[in-house]
């Protein structure tokens, strides 16, 4: 470890003691980048970045972690002089070490012209959106060549060779071929590599990577992170910005945690993650679902804890929505206007009709998972909750001559969660659509509650549609834009005949206050939107809920609360989840059993813990290895 101890204040600077032995890689007396008391304000508004200080040593990876709106991207733009004319940027020191080691460059006083000499040449920038970060109409090689054309005197031929070399260095296979392709011809991972190739074209001493792996699949993400690490080993310092602690933890030797525009905690990565000092850091670390056993809550004072205190549920098949104990949301987050956690347990808390397992029993499978996946319909372990609610048998679906789903079979028991993981394009969503009978299978069939489902004509299916619900990644687009939350929920509850009290009960169940009913979904936060989607899906009291990437576009702490909510609702209502996600950490936290999907086929299945502990298929092992997790940090972050 370097000489840094747990710095508590946001104002304090991380001292880099010269010559001190550091696990964090080479450190020099003069930092490459020195930021002191940086403040960014737009117009006359409140500062978006407030008094932050940090340094980056040459060849070091420094992580900046925070959720949306914490000011991390504005910080990176300030370092590139890209905050725009409306912004007011101030700092007591903002310097970049000059290349020749004969002084420093004061970034505060650069002219627009001087900035052009810094950007690209001295500081490389890898933007987040790999699709919009590239001109769709130009071959990507030209895009990279631009930097060389502007800053070097290479001839066109030399430039082409250099571009190929850069692409190869960025891990792009067949660089000559790729250089003449346009962005839409490349996959997301390749586009990100192209952007990195462009950013390192002039061998900048500092690379700013703003969410470089967001929206990429786990294995692609691992590849990009390895690439960044290789660049660092070759001497490039990296400022890695991400909302994802696990991403930052894999590369950065030191991290700073940002909240509301200020750095609340900074220090060596291992120390910050192992022994977080600030409550917000603790909350962030706890919210990472990886390695958190099934049934534990991810957010502080979570709703998940509540059902244990509630009395044994009345097994009456009451149609009124059960009142869940309210989640106590963190006060720091404006996500919710939820009531207090001290809500008295309502006697109306009921199990789903025909369901006999109470919360106590429903929790049990978490401790001792019974194998339910892959056709083993045996409900051997739990006697009460063993009813199979959903069974897929040999499902296949072709698009053209490509099998999107190929011979997929599984069973799902009442009150349990079956995780379905796979990378994008593996056919997960097609499985969801087949199960929801939105797409007809070419082969095989789906049974719902022991009855034929996919084989029926839509007319006969309709009465039972209320037995199976769905929530989606993009909750907002699943709401009619004209309707208010209240209208949406009462439509779902009982064909528009439900009263206002039903709506507030539904809202209450998902931890939203009743006055949300009057709002339109687009004015709610992402987390609130997903809560409304959950309330709507549960309104008809379904037996099965298909969750298609329900938390993939949410910040990690919001994600944690949504996952906790789903967990608690499952225990309370006995609803079974088919939980589709690309995030192995989420899948592990949520699922009793797991299906691993690749190219339309189930390559591995079984109880979640045994799949994680002892993956049989090479693909599963690959997937598991690629998933960034916090636990790796306990080892030195840069063994690879």
């Amino acid at each position: 470890m370097s000489g840094t101890e747990g710095t508590k204040g946001a104002h304090e600077l991380v001292p880099i003691s010269p010559g001190s032995p550091s696990a964090a890689g080479p450190q020099h007396a003069t930092p490459l980048l020195d930021v002191r008391n940086l403040m960014v304000r737009f117009g006359r508004g409140m500062p978006v970045v407030n008094d932050i200080s940090f340094t980056i040593a040459p060849g070091e990876t420094f992580g900046l972690v925070g959720e949306s709106g914490s000011g991390k991207s504005v910080t990176s733009r300030a370092l590139l002089g890209l905050t725009g004319s409306n912004a007011h940027v101030a700092a007591t020191r903002l310097t970049l070490a000059a290349a020749a080691a004969d002084g420093v460059l004061d970034l505060r006083q650069l002219s627009a012209r001087a900035w052009r000499g810094v950007r690209g040449a001295r500081v490389g920038y890898v933007p987040q959106a790999a699709l919009v970060g590239l001109d769709p109409l130009r071959p990507v090689g030209r895009e990279i060549g631009d930097a060389l054309r502007l800053h070097t005197k290479l001839s066109p031929v030399e430039r082409r060779a250099e571009v190929s070399e850069l692409l190869a260095a960025a891990g792009v296979p067949e660089p000559e071929l790729r250089a003449v392709q346009r962005p839409y011809e490349l996959s997301g991972g390749l586009r990100q590599r192209v952007l990195i190739a462009a950013a390192i074209a002039l061998r900048p001493s500092l690379l700013i990577a703003d969410e470089p792996t967001t929206a990429l699949d786990a294995s692609v993400q691992a590849g990009i992170l390895n690439l960044l690490e290789r660049l660092r080993q070759n001497g490039t310092a990296i400022l890695l910005i991400s909302h994802d602690l696990s991403v930052v933890s894999r590369l950065a030797s030191r991290v700073a945690v940002m909240q509301h525009g200020a750095i609340v905690e900074t220090g060596p990565t291992a120390r910050v993650l192992d022994a977080p000092q600030h409550p917000y850091t603790r909350q962030l670390v706890a919210a990472v679902p990886t390695n958190r056993p099934r049934g534990t809550s991810l957010a502080p004072q979570s709703i998940a804890a509540a059902p244990a205190e509630s009395p044994t549920p009345a097994p009456s098949p009451s149609p009124s929505p059960a009142t869940a104990a309210a989640p106590g949301e963190s006060a720091a987050d404006a996500e919710l206007s939820g009531p207090t956690p001290a809500e008295p347990p309502s006697p109306a808390a009921t199990a789903a009709p025909g369901e006999s397992a109470g919360p106590a029993e429903a929790v049990a499978p978490a401790a001792s998972p019974t194998p339910a996946a892959a056709g083993s319909a045996a409900g051997a372990g739990s006697a009460a909750g063993a009813a199979v609610v959903l069974r897929a048998h040999g499902l296949s679906r072709w698009f053209g001559d490509r099998a999107a789903v190929d011979d997929v079979s599984f069973t799902l028991e009442r009150g349990r969660t079956l995780g379905l993981v796979g990378e994008s394009g593996s056919g997960k969503t097609t499985v969801a659509r087949l199960v929801l009978a939105l797409t007809a299978p070419d082969k095989g069939d789906v049974e719902l509650l022991g009855q034929p489902w996919s084989a029926l004509p839509e007319r006969e299916r309709r009465p039972n549609r209320r037995r199976i619900g769905a929530i989606y990644q993009d909750a907002l687009s699943s709401f009619d834009p004209r309707l208010t939350v209240g209208q949406i929920l009462s439509d779902a509850a009982s064909g528009g005949r439900s009263s206002r009290t039903d709506v507030s009960a539904l809202l209450h169940q998902v931890g939203l206050s009743a006055d949300v009913a009057a709002q339109r979904p687009r004015f709610l936060s992402g987390g609130q939107q997903q809560r409304v989607a959950i309330a709507r899906a549960l309104a008809p009291r379904p037996d099965v809920l298909i969750c298609d990437e329900p938390v993939s576009s949410l910040d990690v702490s919001v994600q944690a609360r949504i996952l906790d909510l789903l967990d608690a609702l499952q225990r309370e209502l006995g609803v079974a989840y088919l939980f589709i996600t690309h995030d192995l950490g989420v899948a592990r936290h949520m699922s009793d059993d797991l299906l691993v999907m690749r190219a339309g086929r189930i390559v591995e299945s079984g109880p979640t813990e045994s799949v994680f502990a002892d993956p049989r298929e090479p693909y599963t092992r690959e997937l598991l290895a690629a998933a960034p997790q916090l636990s790796r940090l306990a080892e030195p972050a840069r063994s690879r």
């Binding site: 009465p463 549609r465 769905a470 004209r482």
Partner: protein
Amino acid sequence: MTVVISLAVLVFLVVAAVWPDLIAPGDPLAIHPLDAFQPPSAQHLFGTDESGRDIFTRVIHGTRASLLIGVTATAIGIGLGLIFGLLAGLGPRWLDFGTTRLLEVMFAFPGLLLALLFIVIYGPGIVTSTIAVGLSTAPGYARLIRSQTLQVRDAPYLEAALVLGRGSVFRLTRHLLPNVAGTLFVIATLGVGQSIVWASALSYLGLGAVPPSPEWGAMLSAGRTYITSFWWMTFFPGLFIVLSAAAATLLGRGLQQRKRSS
């Protein structure tokens, strides 16, 4: 601001259409040969025509016919557009194909030509010219409604309603039609202005309202002969055509912007 002004103008025109005597109490058809060709004055605000009829009275009394033609023609156009648009947007693929080709054929004719064709067949008059204008605007509405329908039909929220077990009637009436109609209302406001101009154009050509009746287009046509010497005979009916069309159009644009920004 423009919305407020347009609204004020439209309110004035509606009052003129419903209670013309409130604004101009005279008889629009009363002839005073001795007062012919009087320039605008305190007595005759807009002057008089070749038979000594008060132009102000005639213009105000003509509002009813013009507005009625504009609104009715738009209603006919949108009604037909809805039928064809929804058929194409919701029907099977062959129906969509057939309807779209038919619309393309209609589009090949300029709108006014289509209206003329209809009048040639069914003879001139207010009713036929109204239907003619409605018919000629229908293809535009139909195409718009079709594309809106296609867009809404595949929206995730309609699928969500299906997953919730909602029948097709509910999905159509609760989600699809209102969302299609939302854009339609704005377009209709714009359409009224256009229909008024077209109806006036047909009257001007002598294919709509017949001369003695106080209709703007017909008045324009009558004043055409004297345009060099007695400008007020054409100017004031023309002014009202422009005013009503502009008010409807600006209101429509204002609503469009408000919808977009909300």
